[in-house]
Amino acid sequence: MDLEFVIGDLQDLETLPSSQSSTLESQYQLIAADEKLSKKAIDRCEQVFQLWSSNRGVRIETIKRFKQLWSIIKDRDYPLVGFPYPNVTAQQVDVDQYMKHQREKSMKNLTVEEVEITDYV
């Protein structure tokens, strides 16, 4: 496989479908062994990571490929903030909303009504 093509089309999941992702590692190793290709690959990785960081405009599968490429070339992980991991669930909570919800929940066993006693009697 042409390695320049690999770098250029790594983001293209039609040309390089996700089913082929696991076979790309050997290509990454070859890229890492070539100084010129490595530099080109690193530049491309950084562009993609920047796109992810700014507006999440990249698919997860694509990010995984570039992270793997980066880690093979650099021999370390790229610390991409906000990237989902299978053993980590990420959520957000507003503390005021949570407290309000808890207060309302604790009063769910309460029925509040009013009665005009003269009407009742």
Partner: protein, 276 residues
């Protein structure tokens, strides 16, 4: 031991670190924290509150500490004993003591332990806390808390001051003190399977994932909750243990899934109010 006893005696005798209402703030970096002191301890104007300079930066704001305590209480309804391994000024220790029968607190600073106790007195929970002076790392290695039947372990380790936001991604293995996240998680799990850490909002989640795998294996799972107050993310809570991980799953309107949470904004657009 005598030296520590003498030091404590001196602190009590001098009423050290009492924050006076008419205090002149000489450290300019503290001014913004001083202005929002009510959000650190709501009883600031009613009761004596004690803080060292360092604790102004590091104490968990009361609203967040209250949220943590109430969330844990809801998730672990039968829990009675909890441990706070970096108690600092006692922000979390106090809120936990309002929810649980017994709270153990650890800190490497006598000054901090003194402040925790004095602040606990302000909140009338001093009878429920038991404080231990020492290095958490050493105490954990000796198994000092492992046989006490602790139901939950909490840690808000030092983040290194407001500078943590200068990094786009906070390195949890290098920057977190006194030890990196993997070592810290391992030490806390040795006491209880229910563990929670309060960490910087720009923490590297890959390191959280890796630490989870290394300590708990392939079945381990971490729930990470970005804690927001008035629209600003104040930090993240990483929690382990099925009771915490699965708690409140039905409340999707309160706990919103963020498969890919917003990245930390650039430093000059960040609300630095009360960082961590």
């Amino acid at each position: 031991m005598y030296r520590y006893h003498q030091r404590l005696k001196k602190l009590y005798h001098e009423n050290s670190f009492l924050v006076k209402p008419d205090q002149v703030i000489k450290d300019r970096q503290l001014i913004k924290y001083w202005r929002k002191k009510q959000s650190l301890f709501s009883k600031f104007d009613e009761k004596p509150i004690f803080l060292t300079n360092e604790l102004w930066y590091s104490v968990t704001p009361e609203k967040i500490a209250k949220f943590i305590a109430k969330f844990v209480r809801t998730s672990l309804p039968n829990a009675t004993k909890v441990l706070d391994v970096f108690c600092g000024a006692g922000g979390n220790t106090i809120q936990l003591a309002l929810e649980f029968e017994k709270v153990y607190g650890v800190d490497l600073s006598l000054d901090h332990l003194y402040c925790t106790y004095k602040n606990a007195e302000a909140y009338n929970v001093n009878d429920r806390i038991w404080l231990k002076y020492g290095s958490w790392e050493k105490l954990a290695k000796k198994g000092r808390f492992s046989k006490l039947g602790i139901d939950f372990v909490f840690g808000s380790p030092p983040w290194g001051g407001p500078q943590y936001l200068q990094e786009r991604s906070y390195d949890l293995e290098i920057s977190l003190k006194p030890m990196g996240i993997t070592h810290l998680l391992r030490s806390m799990i040795s006491v209880s399977p229910n563990v929670m850490l309060f960490l910087p909002r720009n923490s590297n989640l890959e390191q959280v994932s890796r630490a989870t795998m290394q300590v708990l294996g392939s079945q381990g799972h971490c729930r990470t909750v970005y804690v927001k107050d008035s629209g600003f993310t104040k930090g993240i809570l990483c929690m382990w243990g099925p009771s915490l991980v699965n708690a409140g799953r039905e409340n999707q309107e309160v706990f919103e899934n963020v498969g890919s949470p917003s990245p930390s904004p650039l430093k000059d657009t960040v609300n630095y109010d009360l960082d961590g």
